[in-house]
């Protein structure tokens, strides 16, 4: 029972990070019908920029409170990621909006590798230790479950951001414009909506979320690395598909479900396969789920769209 609760908690932590990244995928997909392969790498950019800021600030003004350091890191990482996201859309994808469908996909893969290579040039190939700005010292065990302030912080921040995004999309003027553009961007244009502006805004918001997810991810795993965005990016995409791509609540549900499945899977796989497979196979769950969803329920848990729209 304790293992069960512990795995639930671990799953919620990683799941809420996946959900944040998945929102970025799903928003872009909802509007452009494009899978932005480079989205996972924005998470990496966010984490490394935040790390750089914290390191520089700590060297310049020693003895700052960790929370100030964290806020400063986020305050730099989010705008940087937003700018990168905007540039990717402006330079890369916008011109390909009416190109044959393979063209934007291949461009996106290129952008993903470009970001990784640039990060490798700037920060090197080595793994960097990400400082523990929020305490990871476990608190008093509750019902036998070990919880650290960082884990609570991660879940709270992620849920607050998701709530904020839902408000933005459902209540604000920009949100309405986004929904209209997603429906049909030509007609939205006729209604006086600046479709290009809305699409750019979508990329910017998604990139900001990815930056925050990057900081949370790096804090939880205490590591930052030029290729760190690949796996969470892929899993977040899985989460988006699982929830129904293009569907915002779906991305959140998908992220949490995926986090839980992975956590339980890693915990119990040895028993289930009689010791043949162990927890080093953890990353396979995401792919297996992805495959299964695409075969049996391509519209996802909450989605209405069908995947094989020709």
């Amino acid at each position: 029972m304790e293992t069960f609760l512990q795995q639930t908690l671990n799953g919620l932590v990683s799941g809420s990070i996946y959900a944040l990244v998945a929102l970025g995928y799903t928003m872009v997909y909802g509007i452009l019908g494009l899978i932005n392969f480079a989205h996972g790498d924005l998470l990496m950019v966010g984490a490394l920029v935040a790390l750089q800021t914290v390191t520089l600030l700590n060297a310049a003004v020693p003895g700052l409170h960790p929370v100030i350091l964290l806020l400063a890191g986020v305050a730099v990482a989010v705008p940087v990621c937003m700018a990168v996201g905007y540039l990717i859309e402006r330079i890369g994808y916008r011109r390909l909006r009416n190109a044959p469908r393979l063209a934007p996909l291949i461009t996106a893969i290129g952008v993903s590798f470009l970001l990784q290579t640039l990060a490798m040039i700037i920060w090197g190939r080595e793994f960097h230790v990400f400082p523990q700005l929020v305490s990871t010292t476990p608190m008093e065990p509750m019902a036998g479950v070990v919880v650290s302030p960082l884990q609570i912080f991660t879940i709270v921040v992620a849920f607050a951001l998701m709530g904020g995004l839902m408000l933005l999309v459902n209540k604000s003027r920009l949100g309405r414009a986004m929904r209209a553009t997603a429906e049909n961007h030509r007609v939205a244009g006729l209604m006086g909506i600046n479709a290009n502006g809305v699409i750019a805004a979508t990329f910017i918001i998604g990139s900001g979320l990815a930056a925050l997810a990057g900081v949370l991810f790096a804090s939880n795993y205490a590591i930052a690395h030029y290729a760190m965005g690949f796996t969470p990016g892929l899993k977040a995409f899985t989460a988006a598909v699982l929830g129904g791509i293009g569907n915002l609540p779906g991305a959140m549900v998908g992220g949490l479900v995926l986090g839980l499945v992975e956590s339980f899977g890693a915990g119990y796989i040895e028993h289930l396969t009689f010791g043949f497979l162990n927890s080093s196979y953890q990353d396979i769950f995401a792919f297996v789920i992805l495959g299964a969803v695409l075969i049996f329920r391509p519209s996802g848990l909450l989605g209405e769209r069908v995947a094989d729209r020709a």
């Binding site: 390909l96 469908r101 934007p104 291949i106 690949f230 010791g275 162990n278 396979i284």
Partner: protein, 362 residues
Amino acid sequence: MTTTSSTLPLPASFALDRRIQRPLVILLALAAPLVALAMGKSWVRVLDFALLYVLLAIGLNLVVGFAGLLDLGYIAFYAVGAYTWAFLASPHFGIHLPFWIVLPLGAAFAALAGIALGFPTLRLRGDYLAIVTLGFGEIIRIFMNNLNQPINITNGPQGIDSIDPLTIAGLDLSRDLDLFGFQISSLLLYYYAFLACVVFAIILVRRLQISRIGRAWAAIRDDELAAKAIGIDTRMMKLLAFALGATFGGVSGGLFAAFQGFVSPESFSLMESIVVLTMIVLGGMGNLAGVVVGAIMLTALPELLRHFAVPMQMALFGKTLLDPEVLRMLLLSLAMIVMMLVRPAGLLPARTRYAHRDRRNA
């Protein structure tokens, strides 16, 4: 049926007559390793690898260029071929089967893997397919990395070594051949063996492209709904593209294992899939000549960078700012983006959108 490079907007003096072009290409292919040998053995090695990549690129081009299915896990089939050879012709399990059993088996396993991958994913749109195939490639790599316990099958990250070389009719290609007092380097022997495979592959694919199957693929690529409407069994045709593309990967992988004498999961990373994809994007999707040129260019690239970029940086800055590996990744990713934005059809674009026109022009 002829090389398509004549469509390039080259100055008139470069636009060679096709009757000259073909013998010229053949001569170049035959003489290239001899020239390379004069420059040093490492360059022949590069050429050998270039041919393996040509084979891979031809296979991936079947799937991506002809049928329009973006496969990002293609290197998995290469891995299947390579590991089949490693299992059945090395001291790892103590099995030493000859190449004419191992190579077809590797190709068959790869084709089966292709069908296994294609079957569930065929209903998917291009972008989903890309991610599922990418996931498939990763799964294969994770298994290769971890299947060393509880039963040691793949020997994990250490890989399998002392793999049997390619031996054709008693001739061991890994040893220098002593022919009437002339020493013929093993690298040259491998080169001509690989060249034979590549030539066979090119003839096969050229025939395939203008066949009913090739035209069906082109129709599916250009408009799947319309293709279905005119009675093409799109499911079957896509599966066929996957299986045939995978076969090429499997053969290439087997040859790779024999040539290298060593396989490990490291050789089959996502990066490799991307490299092969860039080859066909750069050269020209759907055009064989372009694909071959792209593959040779990108295989030679790291070697060229090592020989020229490093000394140049030393001369300019006094140190190596970007090592060749980073520079290669940078160029690859930029190539993909810039090609798509500026010249989406590649350096040597496919001449016609519909293969049957080729027949009339030939």
